[in-house]
C-alpha cells in the first residue's frame, strides 16, 4: 500500500512501541538497545519496507497518540489529523486515503467542498489464528497472559470502548 500511494504524496512510517504481549522470546524492554533489536526482528519477520521510527523507552510518542497497541493516524501535509483509528486495518486505511485524495481532486476541479468533522465505525478482519501465531512467537508467557486476561475480561464484561453491533 505504501508503494501504491507514494506517487500520490503519502508517506508511510511505522512507530515501534512497547511490546504489547511480552513473552520469553520478546520480553518487555529494559534498554533501548533491546528495543532496537526487537524492531530489527520485526522488520525482518514482516519484511517491512516503510521507515521504522523507534520511540524512546518511556513511550513518549506512543503516549501522545493514545498508547494503544496498533492504532493508525493519517496526518495531512502541515500537521492536521485527517483520519485515525484505534485498530490498524488496511482496507479502512485505503478507504480513508482515497477519500482524502478524491476530495482534494474534486476541490481542485472547482467543486465547492467544505471540510467537516466525521466519525464512523470501522470493521476489520479478525484472524484469531494469525493472532495466536503472534503470541506463540513472543513465547508461552504471552499465550498464558492473554488467555488469563481474556478469562478475566469474560468475568468483567466487554472492555470499555468495545463496539458491539448486531449483524
Amino acid at each position: 500500500m505504501a508503494r501504491q500511494f507514494a506517487p500520490k504524496g503519502i508517506n508511510f512510517v511505522f512507530l515501534y512501541t512497547r511490546e504489547a504481549h511480552p513473552g520469553e522470546n520478546y520480553p518487555a524492554h529494559r534498554s533501548f538497545e533491546q528495543k532496537l533489536e526487537h524492531a530489527r526482528a520485526f522488520k525482518a519477520e514482516f519484511n517491512v519496507e516503510r521507515p521504522i521510527l523507534v520511540d524512546d523507552l518511556t513511550g513518549t510518542a506512543h503516549k501522545l497518540y493514545g498508547s494503544l497497541p496498533n492504532m493508525t493516524y493519517l496526518i495531512g501535509r502541515g500537521g492536521r489529523v485527517l483520519f485515525r483509528a484505534d485498530w490498524t486495518d488496511p482496507r479502512t486505511i485505503e478507504y480513508a486515503i482515497n477519500y482524502v485524495l478524491n476530495s482534494r481532486a474534486r476541490r481542485r476541479e472547482g467543486l465547492r467542498l467544505a471540510p467537516f468533522y466525521a466519525e464512523f465505525v470501522g470493521y476489520r478482519w479478525n484472524d484469531p489464528g494469525k493472532f495466536q501465531e503472534g503470541l506463540v512467537r513472543a513465547g508461552q508467557q504471552a499465550v498464558d497472559d492473554f488467555d488469563r486476561a481474556m478469562k478475566q475480561r469474560l468475568k468483567q464484561g466487554p472492555r470499555p470502548g468495545r463496539i458491539e453491533l448486531p449483524e
Binding site: 512510517v13 520478546y26 518487555a28 472492555r159
Partner: protein, 67 residues
C-alpha cells in the same frame, strides 16, 4: 517517579488488557494539530522529528510492535 520506574510502568511485563480505548477517543481528534516527537530511525540510527514527514506531504503512521 524515577526514570527506571517510568520504563517499567510503560513496558509492562505481563499483559492484562488494554484500558486506553476510551481515552483514545478524546485525544488528538480529527482536525486537531498532530503532536510532534523525536524518534530514532531504525535504518540509519539518526534522530528524526515526526514533523519532518508531514512537512513533505501527508503521512500515514502505524503504531505497533513485534508482539
Amino acid at each position: 517517579m524515577t526514570h527506571r520506574t517510568q520504563i517499567e510502568d510503560y513496558n509492562y511485563s505481563v499483559f492484562v488488557g488494554s484500558e486506553e480505548f476510551m481515552a483514545f477517543r478524546t485525544l488528538l481528534p480529527v482536525g486537531s494539530s498532530a503532536a510532534d516527537f523525536e524518534a530514532k530511525l531504525l535504518e540509519t540510527g539518526q534522530r528524526v522529528q515526526f514533523s519532518d514527514y508531514w512537512k513533505k506531504g501527508d503521512v500515514l503512521i502505524e503504531f505497533g510492535s513485534l508482539t
